[in-house]
Symmetry: D2
């Protein structure tokens, strides 16, 4: 029986060429698998047909947009996941979902190998391969671009020689990855750290510097999940899509940073994630209102570790699952409304209300109605500072 | 010999009245002590004279602006100190400096008591009293507003009755504290969490929504310290002041959040800190370029703990000093230039260059000149994912 | 209707006297509530009768030993809870359970106040009062020993004067608290840090220096819970009790340390906890075998925080509950056998076997059967060290 | 000019053979470099001569015992470094020192390559190669055992064929690494996790189960460094050596655990480290007496991270250096005497005294002399528990 390889298929030049190339080099049959995580572009049926025309024995296409929003973006929102306090894990979130479907296709179509088109200096190879190892440790992985130095030039030559149905003339100056949670842009002139991004780098967001009317939105959360915008019920996917449109129109969510890759190098990355940034901004402030202080403080450490793990390709690791349990427990009371102004590149919270609020007007107010018993403070302050005071007596040379 | 009390003196109604009141109630002589940390308002000489007219036996005034910038704002910048990831510790930074001078005045003028005008439900009482305990554990503390329920109404009556030289008619609807690092506003209609701040709340910043030309600035750092703006040398104080003006003119640095106070309640706080936010933004990105990954990751935990400690009044604690040693060591290589656009309420980094950069173009580039050895990746990825893979074999019920 | 007070009742002098005293001082009816957490001593019926003879209108007695073992000791075992890496939280675990029953009794008997006999410089007052606040924020708390300076001398005089059925002649030189998880001893000559404990300090453990035969035990765990000793099924309570006897007979579990109390002071504490220490030792090693590395590393931080929280009286806090979710998730695979030698004050693991083991002989062995692919190592090592190497190039002044 | 290779030389079979083999395979000249870190065995001169007889062009031998104790063991003691809370980093500490001398020899003798004899599945390859990369990023590394599958059988054949002056008949059933800080044993029947170690596994320690007289020792520390034993001044090396003898004679410091290796597998390790365990036990308790609570709590996190870094081969990393600064700051007041009983496999602290003690008898005592102001407690407890209480009001559905 002929061996089968499931190939992560995008419909583009590299992976279209890979179908035939893998078949030639390995003698295996290639099953192409394309996953829609909201990256836009061609419809799945077009992609499916192209895969077959390029020589795939099977072509699996999956609309996974809702699954991505619910199972991957929502946990990232609950965790306020911002790698290096900035980057909302756009590509890092989609990779485990894609891996899950690649493994599913391998099981369904009897494949023993999974192939991807990542290079050897990025994070995505790690996310693909560690993910496959964690879901299907028996499957082998093929990474032709990395392990056999497959280049764009060779791909073009191969496509032309074999008459593949691909337009090889289009070449972006950038390397781009996008999904409904955001868009990542790198390489090109951005590799010079002193160069600012130009407007043509962006696609999800408008120029924030252009004068326009502000947009105001009320996001309603239930247990950490956005369930309505301006009072109209939304799915997680709809919440992201609608805020991508509305926050994107105001230039919200552009990010430009030097980033620490797992493989040990620093790289320059530009992102745009209008919906993600708007949602995280709202979610953080609702947590400020509804989450108890000590829980909030420790959750920041959990958030950092969760984010590093996911960035580093360990979505399916035991630690990630245990951290999820913590985060789930923290979200029980994160319910309420956040009013936000989207304008000039900023998502600014202007109001919050919640039946689960821990803000107690009567304890907080300095006006009439104050019920805070100030006589408690003296004892608290004295014992709070006692360890420092005892140390001071020693360190100042007194008894 | 008559006992002496050093009073933290602002020149305003409450502390002016407190001079006479403390003298009457305790029979002690009052030494007024006013510290300029860049809060603006009246000059120190005017304040000094008023203190004496109100009955102080001595009036100590100190221009501590440079000391505050160098000894308190600079460590906060090195630590990227943002409480709850938002608030740059404006008041929390000035309190230990004021305590230091109060204690100094007590030693100089033979006082055995330090008095402050804080209420019993805020953080500042903790910062004052824990600070005094840590610098001078033998001194007693008097907090008449808290411990004797001193109110504004009583203060006005006392001032009028004794003909004190204070204008009692002015009453801000807000409670305000400000210094060169920023400005804090609370109470009034802001105590309703659904109310957005109005423009009259702000003083350090212009409305970011008004159309205006962007401002571009290059900040030069040496070992974590800003040493030049647009190539012109500045002291730390000048860096803050000039960026307060330039970033403030662009509406940068407005913050509005629900905050966890040390005394256990949540409060609504509005801040503006244009210079602080611009400097921290630049400093964080320069660290992204110059600080090694593992150090950067752990430093985020140190930053959170340092910030909580300082917010919680423990500036002079042994842990704070040990964390300072860590932060100092982390800043050795944080040198270089950050170019930033100030506009529309945002400080956006657009370029970075540094002789201490860890970004290596030849390792990062996907173009010609790439020296990254991709053959190393396969082994790395495999061993990186091995613990997850071994766990998966068990958890998936296979061997 | 007369107000009612639920009093935490031990049957001893102080709380027996408190029944009448509270009634006299407050005019309230006193409901005595005694909880058996395995402290030994008199039986519950004797204690119940004494409470009524001392004037209680109701006397509630509860055998909570199994509830304590399952709901309080077991989570502590799952967390390997050792405060300051030494003390297994003996008293800190029983307090929340007692609070729960006090609150239950208050609800059942219509009380509006809960009273306890703790002093003002220990941790237990915090655990009682914060616990009551978290379970029944409407209840008031009365702490006569602390707030009204109730002393032992006054208690003896009151007991003699009122003819209470208490033997006032017995006076331990130590202050002792004990339950099935362990025993805490303080004060007396132990307050001098240079004094070693004498044998009379101990009750749960024999002198480890005496020569005797070693005892070997196999503890079987399922999902973190001990379910059998030497193959015989046990409840959690039985596991603790049997190991208290067997490990105690070998002198295991004596602890002597200077401890940081929540109220800001250091105190000298001596503990003995033979069953707890034996179980934690076994549990830690089973985790070494069955828990993935990154999960194990982060769990140590969770363990520390959980332990501090419980020590600091925050058993019922939101953070504690969220940490429990993490710990629960971590225990899923902690199943298997640990063989341990109990001898000479030490519990030493000598064997482990588990169907959930992550130890893979074929990956670990240096002998025949080795399947570890050493060719993967070079790439791993190179990329693992790349950030340090890049930093070194900069820091050593080379390129 | 002929290329030169510096080889980490032990004097044993594998590295003796490697001298000739490397010369043959690469055409390079081999410089042998042997470092004495207290591993005992043959004297350095014998080793030096053997290296030359085996074909080395130069043989560098270094007595680095004091350097190892002062520069590597002492920081580990200050950090209470116990990997997985058990293993005192025996081998992990010596590797960076050896690397430093290898690099020094390479510079001195004009070598461009460093060679080591580690396998590809252990931690030491990482420590060597990452260390070389961090000290001399221009040097290449050769790992013949790993990269060319060099085996013991091939080594014996080569030695016999070339008449090398090595006794090839001796073969320990174990793989052993030892230095003055401890001794590590693995492989053999220990690879079965259910097997207990037998007495022949141990060399630094006597059987703790044998009856013998206890030994009592007083260790004096200054700023975290042991400076005297029983009042007699010692160097760090002497402190370790003398306690290795005295604690070893009592069976102190045997460890047996399943350990998480950096390369992703679990392995069974047996260690003995009598001096290290005795010193760490004493040091921890002196810290309990002299280090302020918050500093002690955060230091535990630093200790864990420091230990993981060093275990993972990152001794020369930027994070390690910054953590050292924190630890150094924490040790300033760690001065005083600890009295310890060494007996039956246990090092038990029985007394502590220190001029830098933070234990205040008058605050801690329950007897006469008590100066703790218990009236402060009520306010402290109430505000300490306020966040939990406010959350409880919400979570219990009340207001």
């Amino acid at each position: 029986m002929t061996e089968r390889v499931v190939l992560a298929y995008s419909g583009g030049l590299d992976t279209s060429v890979a179908i035939g190339w893998i078949a030639e080099q390995t003698g295996a049959e290639v099953v192409a698998c394309a996953i829609d995580v909201g990256q836009g572009g061609e419809d799945l049926d077009t992609i499916r047909k192209r895969a077959l025309e390029c020589g795939a024995v099977e072509a699996v296409v999956v609309d996974a947009k809702d699954e991505f929003a619910d199972g991957y973006c929502l946990p990232a929102l609950a965790t306020n996941a911002l790698y290096m306090e900035r980057y909302p894990l756009v590509s890092a979130l989609s990779r485990p979902l894609i891996v899950k479907h690649l493994v599913g296709a391998a099981r369904q179509h009897g494949a023993s190998v999974v192939a991807h088109g990542c290079t050897g200096k990025g994070n995505d190879q790690v996310r693909f391969e560690v993910g496959v190892g964690a879901l299907a440790p028996d499957l082998k992985v093929l990474a032709p671009v990395r392990d056999f130095a497959w280049t764009r030039e060779k791909a073009i030559a191969y496509a032309e020689q074999h008459g593949l149905p691909i337009d090889v003339s289009k070449k972006s100056p950038f390397s781009i990855d996008q999904n409904v949670w955001g868009r990542a842009v790198e390489t090109g002139f951005l590799e010079d750290l002193w160069n600012a991004p130009t407007e043509d780098v962006y696609d999800y967001t408008q120029d924030p510097a252009v004068a326009r009317e502000a947009d105001e939105v009320v996001v309603t959360f239930e247990a950490g999940r956005p369930v309505a915008l301006d009072g109209k019920p939304v799915t997680m996917l709809e919440a992201i899509q609608q805020l991508n449109a509305r926050a994107g129109a105001q230039g919200v969510g552009r990010l430009d940073l030097v980033e620490d890759r797992l493989v040990g190098i620093k790289s320059r990355e530009v992102y745009e994630a209008p919906g993600a940034i708007a949602l995280i901004t709202a979610h953080q402030e609702l947590e400020n209102v509804t989450v108890e202080r000590d829980l909030a403080r420790f959750k920041r450490q959990v958030e950092q570790r969760w984010t590093e793990l996911v960035y580093d390709g360990l979505w399916f690791s035991p630690l990630k699952r245990a951290l999820d349990s913590f985060v789930d427990a923290s979200q029980e009371q994160v319910s309420g409304d956040i009013r936000m102004t989207l304008h000039g590149g900023r998502a600014v919270v202007s109001g919050r209300r919640s039946a689960a609020s821990l803000y107690d007007f009567n304890l907080a107010t300095y006006d009439e109605g104050d019920v805070f018993d100030q006589s408690l403070a003296r004892g608290f302050v004295e014992l709070w500072g006692l360890p420092s005071k005892i140390a001071a007596k020693r360190d100042l040379g007194k008894s």
